[in-house]
């Protein structure tokens, strides 16, 4: 279609202005552009949809463990994220940005952080908040300071503190005897914080524990996150430094006082894996410099352990990442890499 227009244009032009020597008229004009004339095949939509694919193992496992409610929760969040995105596009008078995939990720990630028993209406409120306030108020894709999904979750935590910490045990749980009613239960972190009980690491690894949809199974997150790292769509420095710091700092605290949980428990519990691989590595809200990525991960790791051990909340992934998001522009500013040859004589 487009080519036809160009050709017609050329055929008409010489009649209109035969002295126009700008173009060789026997063929379509050549396109002028500034170099480079090559481009990678990577694009924003490709990156975003790849992240969604990387989330699929976690999606599948959460449906396996929590059943249809998990599916309803995720589809509700994704659909409402899409609708909120369209609404904002309409209000701002811009093109629809659903195809770039970023709204779908926000919806899906937010769903991953919610307990399966959470009401769908509240989930919709959180998703709309994430898209509208978390992303579009700042100017849309690329301009937000905070990870929208986490901001939505923080909003829900403020609005529905009880509902968001009411956990269902997986249908497949073999430890039903541990709990009285067999429907709701605490997360391993909650159990630890408030009851002083540890959970079985094996079950935590596979996801056979209470918790939010996406945070229970470490293995599914590691598979998806590893895929992202191999594709280089996530900066490996962030999960490495984040998880490494949590492990080291957790180990030191455990060594000082063995009543604190051991470092492996830290790694496998809560939304840490999901946060480290999918939230902290969010390109928009993490530093662009290599040194900045290390600082970001280490800072988030320290914050996480401090919140978990000394804070009022059992879980600190969300706030540790949000706080580091807030200082990302500063980190970028002060971690400029040394120019090539800078300082060499």
């Amino acid at each position: 279609m487009e080519e036809k227009v160009i050709k017609n244009d050329v055929k008409v032009k010489p009649k209109k202005n035969p002295k126009d020597k700008l173009f060789k008229l026997d063929r379509q004009p050549l396109i002028i552009s500034s170099s480079p004339h090559l481009n990678t095949t990577d694009s924003v939509p490709k990156i975003m949809w790849t992240v969604i694919i990387a989330l699929l193992p976690a999606v599948v496992l959460s449906i396996y463990y929590f059943g249809l409610p998990a599916l309803w929760m995720m589809s509700t969040c994704v659909i409402s994220a899409g609708l909120a995105e369209c609404l904002m596009n309409k209000l701002k008078g811009e093109e629809f940005t659903i195809p770039d995939g970023s709204a779908v990720i926000t919806g899906l990630l937010l769903a991953m952080t919610l307990p399966p028993s959470f009401t769908l209406t509240s989930a919709i409120i959180g998703t709309v908040f994430a898209i509208v306030i978390g992303k579009h108020i700042f100017g849309g894709l690329g301009f937000n300071i905070f990870n929208p999904a986490l901001l939505g979750r923080a909003f829900l935590q403020a609005c529905f503190p009880v509902a968001i910490t009411t956990w269902t045990f997986p249908k497949t749980d073999v430890y039903l005897s541990k709990i009285v009613d067999g429907v709701t239960a605490a997360t391993p972190l909650g159990l630890f914080k408030f009851e002083g009980e540890t959970s079985d690491l094996f079950n935590m690894f596979w996801g056979n524990i209470g918790g939010s949809l996406g945070e229970t199974s470490a293995i599914s997150i590691i598979i998806g996150g590893g895929f992202l790292l191999i594709k280089k769509y996530a900066d490996w420095r962030i999960p490495v430094s984040y998880l490494g710091t949590v492990f080291l700092f957790g180990a030191i605290m455990w060594w000082i006082n063995p009543k604190y949980p051991d470092p492996t428990f830290h790694l496998l519990s809560g939304g840490l894996m999901l946060g480290a691989f999918f939230m902290a590595t969010d390109m928009v809200t993490s530093p662009i410099t290599p040194k900045g990525a290390w600082i970001f991960g280490i800072g988030a790791g320290i914050l996480l352990v401090v919140i978990r051990l000394f804070g009022g909340l059992p879980e600190g992934v969300m706030y540790s990442i949000l706080l580091m998001n807030a200082v990302t522009p500063l980190i970028n500013r002060y971690t400029r890499p040394k120019f090539f040859g800078e300082g060499s004589k």
């Binding site: 700008l22 050549l30 170099s35 481009n39 990678t40 301009f143 390109m283 662009i288 970028n332």
Partner: protein, 440 residues
């Protein structure tokens, strides 16, 4: 063995297969050539001939009094037709001399010593200057200036640049295969002028035939050069990157290779030096790669300077109907052409014709992915620099190092949001440069 290279950089598709195995063909001498008076970095030449004058092949027709300049020669034997401004492949109109060919080549050769090994350095330098030799890799910096570094800069190494890291281009590759002796002689002459003992030839590992051929020839000769196979990575052929890869030395910010005791020259330049010093032939021809999916039969052509692009493309069977872009040089740094009557200049390493719509894809906002940061061989923050440039924050841009940019285009190549990063940075560099100059 682990191949040497520099840090960061990118891996564009190579596209060398179009022409890398094709013997260079000699393009017939055109009936008319158009010689721009500026084909180099520095002051443009003034014409020293007039309309109607008879000129010989190799006769100087334009020169300049200023030091940073290089004379231009007639590349055919004929009559001066006009001296007027015409379109230059760099995109602007410049003074050019049009010469109508009247017959076969009647050479006007340079005075050269019988044996260059006994000639004095100054004599060799002046031959290089008189021959109009400039860097044939694309920058076209006058070679005689490179050969005359200031006294206080001690040069200890010479690197011959045979990387040819731009996709599509194969002119240096073919030159190394077909004119190996000239390459080595030219290199030896340059090293004699510079008085250096250590000579390296850096070649990207995608040219194994060139590497083995040059190694073989060196073994047979009494030259003591080291061939260094390099990792295939763009921009390996950029001077600073090449020096880091070969010698592990970093040219200081804002500095030149001679600050770390190195001079780098292109393979084509070495051949031109050998031709001038040994045969007395000024720089009147070069190999041009005509390649890409937009031309019917891609070829390497030995071409007289001043031949129109159209003639080269016709020689290769013409453009295809669906061709959309033609540029001089490789796709990473080449200059788009819209009028194929422009002449081949000294810096024309290739003419690439493409059928795709090139980079005009959908643009997205910057998602701060940092891919450009991990691609920039100069360790800059392209996304920030581009933004500063876009918003005219020149002070900030200067502090963030915009003037260090070598404009290799790696950032714009990798950008998943299709943001014209290097294009913005180029504009910013111009403005920051003006600002810095006006301050001084």
């Amino acid at each position: 063995m682990k191949l040497l290279s520099f840090k960061k950089g990118i891996h564009p598709k190579e596209f060398k297969y179009f022409t890398c195995n094709k013997q260079t063909e000699v393009l017939s001498i055109p009936d008319e050539v158009c010689i721009p008076l500026q084909q180099h970095i520095g002051a443009p030449c003034n014409p020293i001939v007039e309309k109607g004058d008879e000129v010989k092949t190799g006769q100087i027709i334009g020169r300049s009094e200023s030091f940073v300049s290089s004379p231009v020669h007639s590349t055919v034997t004929g009559k001066i037709k006009t001296i007027d401004s015409y379109l230059h492949p760099a995109g602007t109109k410049t003074q050019m001399i049009k010469i109508q060919r009247t017959g076969d080549d009647d050479w006007q050769l340079l005075d050269v010593p019988k044996n260059w090994q006994l000639a004095s350095t100054d004599e060799l330098k002046s031959i290089v200057n008189e021959a109009g030799i400039v860097g044939l890799g694309g920058a076209a910096f006058p070679t005689h200036i490179k050969l005359a570094p200031p006294e206080e800069k001690k040069i200890d190494s010479f690197i011959l640049n045979g990387c040819e890291c731009e996709p599509f281009l194969t002119s240096d590759h073919r030159a190394m295969l077909e004119m190996t002796d000239e390459v080595l002689d030219g290199m030896a002459i340059i090293m004699k002028v510079l008085g250096v003992k250590k000579g390296y030839i850096g070649i990207e590992n995608n040219k194994p035939d060139a590497i083995s051929q040059i190694t073989r020839k060196i073994q047979k000769s009494d030259y003591n050069f080291t061939v260094i196979p390099l990792k295939v990575k763009y921009p390996q052929g950029a001077e600073k990157m090449l020096i880091e890869a070969v010698l592990k030395r970093k040219v200081p910010t804002g500095g030149l290779p001679m600050d770390v005791g190195v001079v780098v020259n292109n393979v084509g330049t070495a051949i031109a030096v050998a031709n001038a010093v040994i045969d007395g032939k000024p720089l009147v021809e070069r190999i041009v790669t005509v390649s890409g999916d937009g031309v019917t039969e891609p070829k390497n052509l030995m071409t007289r300077i001043g031949t129109s692009f159209q003639k080269l493309i016709d020689e290769c069977g013409g453009l295809k109907e669906e061709t959309t872009t033609v540029y001089m040089g490789g796709p990473m740094m080449g200059i788009s052409q819209w009028d194929l009557s422009v002449p081949v200049v000294k810096a024309t390493s290739g003419i690439v014709c493409r059928t795709d719509k090139s980079t005009n894809g959908t643009s997205y906002p910057c998602i701060q992915c940092g891919t450009c940061v991990s691609a920039c061989p100069m360790f800059l923050l392209p996304t920030k620099l581009a933004r500063y440039s876009e918003h005219k924050l020149l002070e900030e841009a200067n502090k963030t190092g915009i003037l260090n940019c070598v404009e290799c285009g790696s950032c714009a190549f990798v950008c998943p949001s299709n943001i014209p990063l290097v294009q913005w940075i180029r504009i910013g560099k111009l403005k920051v440069g003006e600002m810095v100059r006006s301050k001084n």
